[in-house]
């Protein structure tokens, strides 16, 4: 790669990232505020009202136990939603062509969209964490793990959103995966309970849910407890990222949904 090309790629990458961040901050009432409100309701109902009746879970009060999972849920939903809606919107209005005609390699376009998704996921995660602090005391057990899990999870779900955006042909198609696949996996991913409470069969089934590993790795970062092995969790997340990244590049190379 020549210096000239490197500069071009960096400028193009920064342009896509700035464009993506400008997009979701311009419509903050649709992108940043709703997760803050819904998380406040989760904390109020599950944490303050129902939580005291449930008692302790894995050695923590219920509200402390669910806080990491709820933060992770916001990160997953928002990184996915950012990329799928932005990319499909660009396809629908055809302004994706602005990038396709320009001398930008596919990996730069993909990297720009992923970074936009990570930025929204991380920002919403931060906002939700601040909301959580109104309801419970949050400490950080391992900052490195927290940062790594947030980054890797938002990268993974940004990739998921990108692939969904590529295959989507109409607006309905961008809500099918979040509604029928993502939401059930998140709710069954150990946000509200420890899988140790489940019968052995359902514990085994739960271990096929990749979101379980993200929620538990993040919970380890904040509380120091986890239902799964941390190294195994990181391996699973990284493996999924590599697979989805290669698949996304392949789809771009063949022009699936974006080139005739």
């Amino acid at each position: 790669m020549t210096t000239m090309n490197r500069n071009l790629f960096v400028t193009a990458f920064c342009t896509i990232v700035i464009k993506e961040i400008t997009r979701f901050t311009r419509i903050w009432i649709q992108t940043i505020l709703p997760p803050a409100i819904s998380m406040a309701l989760y904390f109020l109902i599950f944490g303050n009202l129902i939580g005291p009746r449930i008692g302790m879970m894995s050695g923590f009060s219920y509200i402390e136990f669910i806080a990491p999972g709820l933060i992770m849920m916001s990160i997953i939903n928002n990184s996915y939603a950012n990329v799928v809606s932005s990319f499909f919107g660009a396809k629908f209005q055809r302004h994706i062509e602005e990038m396709l005609v320009a001398p930008i390699p596919d990996f730069v376009i993909l990297g720009g969209y992923i970074t936009g998704g990570v930025a929204r996921g991380a920002l919403v995660g931060l906002v939700v964490t601040l909301v959580a602090m109104f309801f419970t005391r949050l400490s950080i057990h391992h900052l490195g793990v927290v940062i790594a899990v947030v980054l890797l999870t938002s990268i993974l779900f940004s990739l998921g959103g990108f692939i969904n955006g590529i295959f989507a042909r109409k607006f309905d198609d961008i809500s099918i995966i979040p509604t029928f696949i993502l939401t059930p996996l998140i709710y069954l991913g150990g946000i509200f309970y420890s899988i140790n409470l489940l019968p052995e069969f359902w514990q085994t089934v739960s271990k096929f849910n990749p979101i379980l590993y993200m929620v538990n790795a993040f919970r380890y970062g904040l509380l120091g407890v986890s239902d799964v092995d941390l190294m195994f969790a990181f391996t699973i997340i990284t493996l999924f990222i590599v697979i989805l990244f290669i698949f996304s590049l392949y789809l771009m190379k063949i022009g699936k949904g974006i080139r005739n």
Binding site: M4, N5, N7, L8, F9, T11, A12, C14, T15, I16, I18, K19, T22, R26, G89, A90, Q93, R94, H95, E97, E98, M99, L100, V101, A102, P103, I104, I254, G255, R259, N260
Partner: protein, 291 residues
Amino acid sequence: MHALKGIDLEVSQGDFFALLGPNGAGKSTTIGIITSLVNKTDGKIFVYDYDLDTNIIEAKSLIGIVPQEINFSQFEPCLEIVLNQAGYYGIPRKQAWKRAEKYLTQLGLWDKRNDPSRTLSGGLKRRLMIARALVHEPKLLILDEPTAGVDVELRRSMWEFLTEINRQGTTIVLTTHYLEEAEKLCKNIAIIDHGNIIENTTMKSLLSKLSIETFIFDLTEPIALLPDAGPFKLHKTDDTTLEAEITNGQDLNTLFEFFGRNNIRVKSMRNKANRLEELFVRLLCKNNHPQ
């Protein structure tokens, strides 16, 4: 099924080149392949000697495209659209600002720079696409029906602007359904039909192939009976209008002498159809195209 059947087309540096053809002939496919929006199955494309397959960055950097359909974000302000496009071509923000100001001003859009693009009229949206295509100062500008749906005044000002851009050295490839536009602006022309190039020559040489031209004469006074016009095919459409078919070997002076001898006074005259349009229709008929 192939949209294009092995076409071979060369556009010289600095040319203003017309690529014409009926709907579905393969014009947009050709442009789509050159601009990487359509995957080709075979063949080579060179842009200023850069192979689009092996020197993709260099080749793409030289092309600017004004597509047929509006294809910018409806929610972004005009300035942001142009700045972002500059960024995609690696132009640093500071430089991009200067160029965006230059082209938005030239195209009469600077006052609307902060307006969301969806609020622009159809004609201004087309101008915005031209500003966006020029911001990285391409050597080859491709315009796919840039004046479709644009009013006459705006169309003429766009012609002036494009002529000036071409005069400054930008090679322009234009597709249009307004054949008057192609005849007025372009030096060379290719006509594509059913995925084949059926004509590829200079505008002058193509127009010289027109063997018959039809003229309409508006008369100052009505005439009751049309005298015998000899070699000229002449007929009356109404009492004050005559139509004459002039073949290659005939000249208008002889016809005017005939008018003078017979006391027929002409107020004004015009071509019945645009010359290129007449040729275009004949070429397509020859190519078994249903009209």
